[in-house]
């Protein structure tokens, strides 16, 4: 019989040939079996491209599932915590899904492509869970990760670039809108979504047209300072935007081995995504119970004094230390906010907005380690949240 041998090497995205041409750093890591760049030319400047002009990030390794069938809406509505009946075709929903104990398995975006036809996009893979959720339902779930590749075009000039490409209608896209159009014979899907908390779009196309899309995009963006960026730059932007990431700020509940290491959406500050009015969804009973009883953990956004990044720091409720009340999961100096920022997890009742906490920071300068207890204020808003993110049509620049 004929068989396909498994590929032993890391996969390459369809955009890889262009990325390889741009690559000066030769710094790659693995993301779901793909080669994914830490950066291409200068990581700090890549970050600024995102905030100042436009950064292009390769989203291809994102896991994509197409969900169709008569029960697709009922299916998704039971799967995720938010009310999917409110998400009309042409809209995208950020959503989170839980197990029966109300613990977060993952978050992701759900694209309502056409009536009854959805695409679920997430960092992790979930076919096993999605199929379990389909027991007794008439839905079809197809993993189309390799059939669709994607680019995130994020930053203030992203709109102008797309307009320059001749993508008509893009000016009407409001945040979380999506549209499909013909791109030289291929279907190009554009959504006004992103992971940077700024004006930006995500473009989705079949691998055959990948390089053509890349070339057209970069040609159109030439005068708008378009730049390819790597994960390092994106990671910084996502912390500024206050977004959480799996395996960094939380662990998918289905892979935790120790008890108490998973988190509920309420504990991750995603209570706004939980619709208790819905009659049933995975985790509803547990979350109602948690709401009654009170959560154990709380995710906090911290504005930390000084400029020493608080990586992996313990959090205390007083300057003297004592027993820690939590720990930092993501930390960065924000170049655009000029703030020392972090996401962390603390035990309730600590961590209310406005609380003054302390983080224990160890830092090293010229081989010497120092320790500082820095005051950290719990803030409610994302650290970076420019109005241009919301304006429709966006300003041209």
């Amino acid at each position: 019989m004929s068989k396909t041998e498994v590929q032993l090497d890391r996969r390459k995205s369809p955009f890889y040939p262009r990325q390889a041409e741009l690559d000066r750093l030769n710094q790659w890591h693995e993301w779901k079996g793909y080669r994914s760049a830490d950066g291409f030319w200068e990581m700090d400047l890549e970050y600024f491209a995102q905030r100042n002009s436009a950064g292009v990030f390769d989203l291809t390794p994102m896991t994509k599932y197409r969900i169709t069938g008569p029960d697709a809406l009922d299916y998704l509505n039971r799967l995720v915590t938010r009310d999917m009946t409110k998400i009309k075709p042409g809209r995208v929903a950020y959503a989170v899904w839980c197990d029966d104990e109300g613990q977060v398995i993952d978050d992701g975006t759900i694209f309502h492509l056409n009536e009854g036809e959805y695409r679920l996009c997430s960092q992790e893979r979930h076919m096993s869970w999605l199929q379990a959720a389909a027991i007794g339902m008439d839905v079809r779930i197809i993993d189309e990760t390799e059939d669709i590749c994607g680019l995130a075009v994020q930053g203030p000039t992203s709109f102008s670039i797309l307009k320059n490409m001749g993508l008509h209608g893009v000016e009407t896209l409001k945040p979380f809108d999506l549209m499909a159009l013909n791109f030289h014979g291929a279907e190009l899907m554009i959504s006004r979504t992103g992971f940077t908390g700024d004006l930006g779009y995500e473009l989705w196309i079949s691998p055959d047209s990948a390089l053509h899309l890349w070339d057209t995009l970069f040609e159109a963006g030439k005068l708008h300072h378009i730049r390819a960026i790597g994960t390092h730059a994106l990671e910084l932007a996502r912390i500024e935007a206050g977004f959480i990431a799996a395996y960094i700020d939380f662990l998918p509940a289905n892979v935790t081995v120790r008890s108490g290491r998973s988190r509920s959406p309420l504990e991750l500050g995603l209570g706004w995504l939980v619709d208790f009015e819905k009659p049933n969804f995975n985790g509803r009973r547990a979350l109602i119970e948690e709401k009654k009883r009170g959560s154990t953990w709380r995710l906090v956004k911290l504005d930390i004094e000084g400029n020493k990044e608080a990586h992996h720091s313990y959090i205390y409720d007083n300057k003297k230390g004592g027993e820690n009340i939590g720990f930092i999961t993501s930390a960065a100096w924000s170049p655009v906010c000029k703030q020392n920022i972090a996401l962390g997890t603390v035990r309730t009742p600590h961590g209310k907005v406005g609380d003054k906490l302390y983080v224990e920071i160890y830092y090293q300068l010229e081989m010497h380690w120092s320790r500082v207890m820095a005051q950290a204020t719990v803030v409610s808003k994302p650290f970076w949240d420019p109005p241009r993110k919301r304006v429709t049509p966006p300003a041209s620049n």
Binding site: V6, G33, M127, N254, R258
Partner: protein, 538 residues
């Protein structure tokens, strides 16, 4: 007549571990071994030209790292190198690989089913959760649930607390895991038959049960709860073969002043007034000691080496009914070169891993049906490794040593002894099965050693050649192992102890029984406990 503080009968890895701890504590210890080599089933022997055969146990994972470190086995020459990967060759010409790289592994499983590829993560997490739970108890003495002693109550409470720490739903999952069959356990994760088949082997290795028999999910743990350098579930080869483990333990034992005597088989354990006095050797010589520790399985210890009058009838019957069943054989082969496996791509990393030639759940179960009828599996489950791929010391350059662990192989054929012809046929069954997938395998064979349970029993002494010194069924685990009321390493007469794999936590090159028994002996002698504690959460 020589007198010692303690005599350890049997220089298997548990006997040596036990002896080493007793010697380390300052006791005058002799470890006696009936064969002219040490190690028992933890052995590598030069049986043909320049080949060294790990002709019983063949891979290392369970060896408790606490003991490895504590007895300074690295300093005494032990070196364990992890190996990765595995292959199931399929009848249709395809194969299922298992790769150490999780992404490649995912892609391989995804060739058969995406859902299965994704489910593997949950399967691993759930299985690891059970491993973490059981690992807590490996270096602890099981409590006696019928006792009201503070020590037992405390230990029971500890066990209960660890259980309740898992959380409600996971406790139910744990109850199910301990009681269900490996086939049913896998059904809850995977849909692809060959994937289930590949994973199910670990549920039956060394046991007289089929993949559909309740209780086999637990047996998985005896293949997952080990580690190599903190990588839970990883397996490795000891450089020089598994015998190197015994050699290192022996060196460690000697370094603490212990005395090792080979070719000193025990005829009888001497008892007077309900207390052990020492042992009588087959040679007629008697050795005296107030403490006698048996590394032999319980049947050998009590039925063969003790006077029935020194035991109560109830105890005697329970030992008699303790289940040690020969269910596996070994075929060890010296090859003149590396065999080829046309199904695999050239230079596939899978050649470094273990290989299996049975590809469906039905074939796995039917292999067991043969055993139930008192014969060896005609289409057996073979776990084949070629340690010489990574260990240059076991065969001349370019040549290879192949270890085939074979499930199932009974101790007797339909209730009578094996004939020589049947033994040869058994070996041929295995070689033929491999030959199906490797056309040049047979022509490369230089020497074959075929070991049925009876052969292993004759040579090593283990009843029915059982790798675990007793079935790992629920009625013989934890406080039931080996016998209810005697799970704390103490025998029925004063000063007599058990330290072999018949005791908690069971077999495999784990060394935990030997270490745990030492703890109890030192406790009884009112000496400080020098046995190591669990490394803790990992």
């Amino acid at each position: 007549m020589k007198t010692y503080d303690a005599i350890v009968i049997g220089a298997g890895h548990n006997g040596l571990t036990n002896a080493a701890y007793l010697a380390k504590s300052g006791l005058n210890v002799v470890c006696i071994e009936k064969n002219d080599y040490i190690g028992g089933a933890t052995v590598s022997r030069n049986l043909y030209k320049d080949w060294f055969y790990s002709n019983c146990s063949y891979v290392v994972s369970l060896l408790r790292p606490e003991i490895y470190r504590d007895l300074e086995l690295a300093r005494h020459g032990l070196q364990v190198t992890p190996y990765g990967g595995g292959t199931v060759f399929m009848e249709n010409g395809d194969y299922l690989g298992s790769y150490p790289d999780p992404e490649v592994h995912w892609r391989e499983y995804a060739r058969f089913s995406r859902a299965d590829a994704d489910a593997y993560e949950r399967y691993s997490a759930d299985t690891m959760r059970q491993c973490r739970f059981i690992r807590e108890f490996l270096l602890r003495t099981p409590p006696d649930p019928a006792s009201f002693k503070p020590r037992d109550l405390r230990e029971l409470a500890y066990l209960g607390a660890k259980f309740f720490d898992m959380g409600e739903q996971r406790m139910y999952d744990t109850i199910r895991f301990w009681t269900m069959s490996v086939a049913e356990y896998l059904d809850e994760y995977f849909e692809t038959d060959v994937i289930k088949c590949a994973l199910s082997g670990s549920g039956i290795i060394g046991t007289a049960l089929g993949i559909h028999s309740p209780g086999t999910a637990y047996v998985l743990l005896h293949h997952y709860m080990g580690e190599v350098d903190g990588n839970m579930g990883a397996w490795g080869f000891a450089r020089g073969g598994t015998g190197a483990v015994a050699q290192a333990l022996a060196k460690s034992f000697r370094s603490y002043g212990g005395e090792l005597r080979t070719e000193a088989g025990v005829e009888q354990i001497l008892v007077k007034n309900g207390k052990v006095q020492g042992v009588a050797l087959s040679s007629g010589e008697e050795i005296n000691a107030k403490v006698v520790v048996s590394n032999m399985d319980v049947k050998n210890t009590f039925l063969r080496c003790m006077d029935k009058n020194d035991l109560t009838e109830e105890f005697y019957n329970r030992v008699k009914n303790f289940k040690i069943r020969g269910s596996s054989g070994k075929v060890n082969i010296a090859l003149g070169g590396m065999p080829t496996f046309p199904a695999l791509p050239k230079d596939s990393p899978l050649l470094d891993g273990d290989m299996h030639f049975i590809d469906s759940m039905e074939r796995m179960e039917r292999a067991y049906d043969d055993w139930k009828e008192g014969t060896w599996s005609k289409d057996p489950y073979v776990d084949m490794t070629i340690p010489t791929v990574s260990d240059p010391t076991m065969a001349p350059p370019g040549k290879h040593f192949v270890s085939c662990f074979v499930q199932y192989c009974p101790a007797q054929i339909e209730g009578r002894d094996w004939t020589e012809e049947e033994r040869q046929q058994f070996g041929q069954t295995v070689i033929d099965q491999i030959g199906e997938y490797s056309p040049d395998f047979k022509s490369l064979i230089e020497h074959v050693e075929i070991r049925t349970p009876a052969v292993i029993e004759d040579e090593i002494g283990i009843t029915e050649g059982n790798i675990f010194h007793g079935e790992l069924t629920m009625d013989q685990l934890l406080f039931n192992r080996p016998i209810p009321g005697y799970a704390q390493y103490r025998g029925p007469v004063g000063g007599l102890y058990m330290c072999g794999s018949s005791t908690h936590p069971g077999g495999g090159i784990m060394a935990a029984p030997g270490c745990n028994a030492a703890r109890e002996i030192l406790f009884d002698l009112r000496r400080p406990d020098i046995t190591p504690v669990n490394f803790g959460d990992d």
